[in-house]
């Protein structure tokens, strides 16, 4: 499941970026029911119309609050990628686990013939 792809840049976002560059502290981003349905679809969470309606003000309340970050001057600041300086280790290129098929499948809601089972995806 990809949670990253899908949503195209919207008019609101472009405005937001323009405002930021102009130094405005309040951004203009907000979601509507169509956007909420789109987010829910990307997140693979089924919601009905009533839930979508209810989520609009909830999400806008939170998004309106986090948008204050737009006022911070981050010129020349690198995004944090590691909170404590550390190096990625390399290990020997050897097999360290495996041969545990039954354990892997033990919690599957449905498993047959040593495989996870899902609804038919190809007609």
């Amino acid at each position: 499941m990809s949670l990253l792809g899908g949503a195209g840049a919207t008019h609101a976002c472009v405005l937001f970026l323009m405002h930021r560059e102009a130094g405005a502290s309040r951004a203009c981003m907000s979601v509507d029911t169509a956007t909420v349905r789109k987010i829910a679809s990307l997140a693979r969470i089924r919601i009905d119309d009533a839930q979508a309606e209810a989520l609009v003000p909830e999400l806008n309340n939170i998004l309106g609050w986090i948008e204050q970050l737009g006022e911070v001057d981050v010129t020349g600041v690198e995004p944090m990628t590691a909170v404590i300086p550390n190096h990625l280790r390399l290990r020997d290129d050897v097999v360290t686990d495996g041969n545990v098929r039954d354990k892997v499948l033990a919690n599957a809601p449905q498993a047959e013939h040593g495989f996870f089972t899902v609804p038919k995806v190809i007609e």
């Binding site: 499941m1 949670l3 990253l4 792809g5 899908g6 949503a7 195209g8 840049a9 919207t10 976002c13 970026l17 930021r20 951004a27 981003m29 979601v31 909420v36 987010i39 829910a40 990307l42 997140a43 693979r44 969470i45 089924r46 919601i47 989520l55 909830e58 999400l59 309340n61 939170i62 998004l63 609050w65 986090i66 948008e67 204050q68 970050l69 737009g70 911070v72 981050v74 600041v77 690198e78 995004p79 944090m80 990628t81 909170v83 404590i84 550390n86 990625l88 280790r89 290990r91 354990k103 892997v104 033990a106 919690n107 599957a108 809601p109 449905q110 996870f116 899902v118 609804p119 995806v121």
Partner: protein
Amino acid sequence: MSELTDLGIAAIRDGVRAGDFTAREVAEGFISAVAAAKPLNAFLVETPDHALAAADAADKARADGAPMGGMAGVPIGMKDLFCTEGVATTAASGILDGFVPQYESTVSANLWAAGAGMLGKLNMDQFAMGSSNETSAFGNVISPWRRKDGGNAPLAPGGSSGGSSAAVSARLCPGATGTDTGGSIRQPAAFVGISGIKPTYGRCSRWGTVAFASSLDQAGPMARDVRDCAIMLGAMAGFDVKDATSLELPVPDWEARLSGDLKGKRIGIPREYRVDGMPDDIEALWERGIAWLKDAGAEIVEVSLPHTKYALPTYYIIAPAEASSNLARYDGVRYGLRDLPEGAGLQDMYAATRAAGFGAEVQRRIMIGTYVLSAGFYDAYFTQAQKVRTLIARDFDDAWKSCDLLLTPTAPSAAFALGEKSADPLAMYLNDVFTVPSSLAGLPAMSVPGGLDADGLPLGLQIIGPALDEQGVLNAGLAIEERAGFTARPGKWW
């Protein structure tokens, strides 16, 4: 054997070694206490056999003159975020209904190797998302504390480690594991009058711990006092090849170097933590804490952490973003719940399963995270937050030029009533205002009890230290503990 349940980790360890009592007697005492405390709803699963087996092993080791681990004979509670082999683990979510791990988390395995036993799995906020334990799929944990107004309103034990805080405070276990992503060890510890430390990011392996926000999640102990925290953290921590962010460093003997003498130490008081509307009780507590640390020999200096006000909004971009990615794995295929509507295809099954299995707050955070990571918004939200996070960490680096540790309140209020904040996500998020900045910077931080408010409820003081200086944090915690003389405990009503 009820008096044995009044003992902490050090006293149990020492008493078992000295032969004052057996580990089995200790385990039986706590098992009875757990069984009699159902109204608190702190335990999701009880595992008396695990506790008794570890106790018997400790007693046998003593009888044989064999080496005994640092936690030998000590039964503990295990937050349900840690995978425990053969014991149901749900992270208090319906989506992990029926999940029985086939492996043991590194932190829990380390504790068993040190001789500890498990009394059971502790309730929590679902996927550790919450500050009151009200998002659990298995009901609220009720704090053992009550206001002294006689109203008996059920109070929040804090969150997300609310089962852990309630259980330790109610003497159902001498110590419990917690995890802290934005304050989930420290705030619940403060709410119930116990101690808890979040170590430096990377001290405790995250392997086998259900992931919430991987760049923030850290395990740590919750216990009655600072010494017990030092002992238990020593047993939990350590390098683990199975966690790429695990720090390849030896585990210091924190207990052996405990000292409440702070001569030569400079304690910073961050001026930005004096937030508007802070209750007088919290202000007074902070002033008392300052006086205690002065009395311990420390010098007090005012410092500035200018980006403090941006820590919470930064956190509420980064944590949901990481959560939306981490929680993508719950798809109804490999483990946990599957909701397959009649005639549904694979995509419908994913969506139905996740709608049925995730609670409202988890869904809300996944949606926020999905949105801030989506194409077109990624830079405006997520990259911006990662940059502000750099600035927040830099604030601390600058502060360490003029002080060795920071002292702040742990939370902006005492425990609130269940239901009081649950209708407004933002009001709930604001509870973490003092704990989130150090989480974003990966720093060790601990809460110790500082006294009671006018309602008779515990208040906590937080000490924050530079990366890897758990010792400094624990020592300042001890200095406060020695002067606060906090002996209050909840009256037993359950």
